[in-house]
């Protein structure tokens, strides 16, 4: 099984072209297009991670706020009932 995998990997590697230029700006593109390609790749990679991270951070902060609010409400209720915490 392992040797079959090895043969497959070598065969695929031999079939790979010398330069993969499926992207129109990777090979003959200008410096400006190369920069644009890198910037947009970075943007499209980072943006979803930043948005999901931001949403999780915001939810965590909101949970903390609600818990604090509940704790204060419980303390107030206990004080009203005459119990020293």
């Amino acid at each position: 099984m392992n040797s079959a995998c090895l043969v497959l990997v070598v065969a695929v590697a031999l079939l790979l072209p010398g330069a993969a230029e499926a992207c129109s700006v990777c090979g003959p593109g200008t410096e400006e297009s190369r920069v644009a390609f890198i910037v947009t790749t970075g943007l499209l990679t980072a943006l979803p991670l930043l948005m999901i991270g931001g949403a999780l951070w915001w939810l965590r902060a909101r949970i903390a706020d609600l818990e604090e609010h509940h704790r204060e409400a419980r303390e107030a209720a206990a004080r009203t009932a005459g119990v020293r915490l």
Binding site: S24, V25, G29, A36, F37, T40, L43, A81, G82, V83
Partner: protein, 198 residues
């Protein structure tokens, strides 16, 4: 007479945990929708940036330049609309019935933005910039048109919220959700303006 130990008047006992919603369902739904829309616009702008960077001359020869100055005024109207809507939300939290006027002003400013863009499109079409005239025209109408579509949808939602408010049926969560959609429309526009018009 032996004294009894002091007891609390009432024993509150253990407080039953109560589940509380972090944010209304409508708000969560619109947030997820907005996140996906951000990626849609990021993809469109990325494609535009690559094509523009590859072009020898931009705009292509024979194609009109976009009206930067006039659109700057329109951009200001849209940003003002977002600010007024924020004020309407603040007012609603304190005195709901008083939020009608700022909400109507926000809708009017948004409608001005869409109508102004419509006139701008008509002028550009007359000058020869069409969807098929060049990559410039294709990207312009695709990206700005997608934004306009969102603006119209958000304006319809805001109008519906205003009518609900007039009938005293509007809930805070609903106004919040509709506002988030409009803030998205307002927030994405300056990026489009900077990338496409300038």
């Amino acid at each position: 007479m032996p004294q009894r130990p002091l007891q609390p008047a009432t024993d509150p006992g253990p407080v039953a945990p109560r589940r509380q919603q972090l944010l209304p369902n409508g708000v969560l739904g619109i947030l997820i929708f907005v996140l996906t829309e951000v990626m849609l616009f990021a993809g469109l702008v990325s494609a535009f940036m690559i094509v523009r960077a590859n072009a020898v001359e931009w705009p292509p020869p024979g194609q009109p330049r976009l009206p930067v100055g006039e659109t700057a005024i329109n951009t200001a109207a849209l940003l003002a609309s977002g600010g007024v809507l924020w004020y309407a939300n603040r007012t609603y939290a304190v005195w709901p019935s008083r939020a009608r006027v700022p909400l109507a002003v926000a809708i009017a400013l948004g409608a001005f933005f869409v109508l102004f863009q419509g006139f701008e499109w008509l002028a550009l079409i007359r000058e020869g910039l069409t969807l098929t005239s060049s990559a410039h025209g294709s990207f312009f109408y695709l990206i700005v048109g997608t934004h306009a579509l969102h603006a119209v949808a958000a304006l319809i939602a805001l109008g519906w919220a205003w009518s609900q408010l007039s009938r005293r049926k509007l809930r805070q969560g609903t106004l919040w959700a509709v506002s988030i959609f409009w803030y998205f429309v307002v927030g994405v526009w300056p990026i489009l303006y900077l990338r496409i018009y300038l």
